[in-house]
Subunit: 155 residues, 2 copies
Amino acid sequence: MDLSKENAVLAVEVLDLLFRATRHIQQEYEMKLESLSLPFQLSGPRLRLLLVVWRAEKIRMNELASKLGVKPRTVTELVDALERDGVLHRTPDPNDRRATLLHLTEEALNQISRVRSVQMQISDEILQKFSAEQRTQLHALLSKIFEGMEFDFVY
Amino acid sequence: MDLSKENAVLAVEVLDLLFRATRHIQQEYEMKLESLSLPFQLSGPRLRLLLVVWRAEKIRMNELASKLGVKPRTVTELVDALERDGVLHRTPDPNDRRATLLHLTEEALNQISRVRSVQMQISDEILQKFSAEQRTQLHALLSKIFEGMEFDFVY
DNA sequence: TATTGTTATACTCTATAACTATA
DNA sequence: TATAGTTATAGAGTATAACAATA
């Protein structure tokens, strides 16, 4: 009997678990975000977009699409909705009149710290049983998945 | 200066990374699944449903919805599509004439081993840089997220 | 009266293809 | 000729509310 494989964890089992954990956490996030009563709707994809714009301060729709890993058409759709809700606005790029730059509105900037703080609070709750060392370990192991990848980090 | 927190990894950073890893892996999965040329369409949600039915052999739509963490109406929608594609079929539950039992078709049973083997192959590729010990570690850390949760495992 | 699943309807995310304006 | 973003259109996944059949 090959004892070395007796208790081995299959790669596919690890990734199944990864998916389940992600779904679980996403559901927690969405529940808590709803209860925040923000002056605008914030789904997962919208928040993801928002945070990329926030980190960049200003960004082309173009570049945003590639950072998010979606098509430009999808960004148009999301931006339409967010602009309607007063979360961000389009301005023409002075350097290239084909391009459009996105900025967050004051309102969004005001709310975003609430969102981030709820994110941090939920995250702490979910990982409450983890020691600092275990958090670091989990972070290191997840980073390892991206090891040796050339392309820009996708959010 | 508080050196103990100097290099600490924030919980929110760990979960951000978790999300990014999951998105990345999901994209790999979907790409490879497409190239399998199955006789039916298999998106993430459809595959998830399929695998739950497969593990259960037969299952009520009801119970399926709760295992998947979606509403019954959503299961109706998915099952309609999968039945149209000849992947599964509805039969009345003899014990409760309100209920409907789902079974996979022969065709689905024949294809599912191909799907599983591709899943395992992709998983091995993604975790190729991981030692057996690291896989076990990652599995243990992810399990810890669910620690002390009462409810049934959600897929 | 409560539960199972459906019809009717709608919203969000995503995409492809054809087009406009600019480079 | 190529790029940035849009209009037009479509499909998948998800949901709520009202309902029919059954328990």
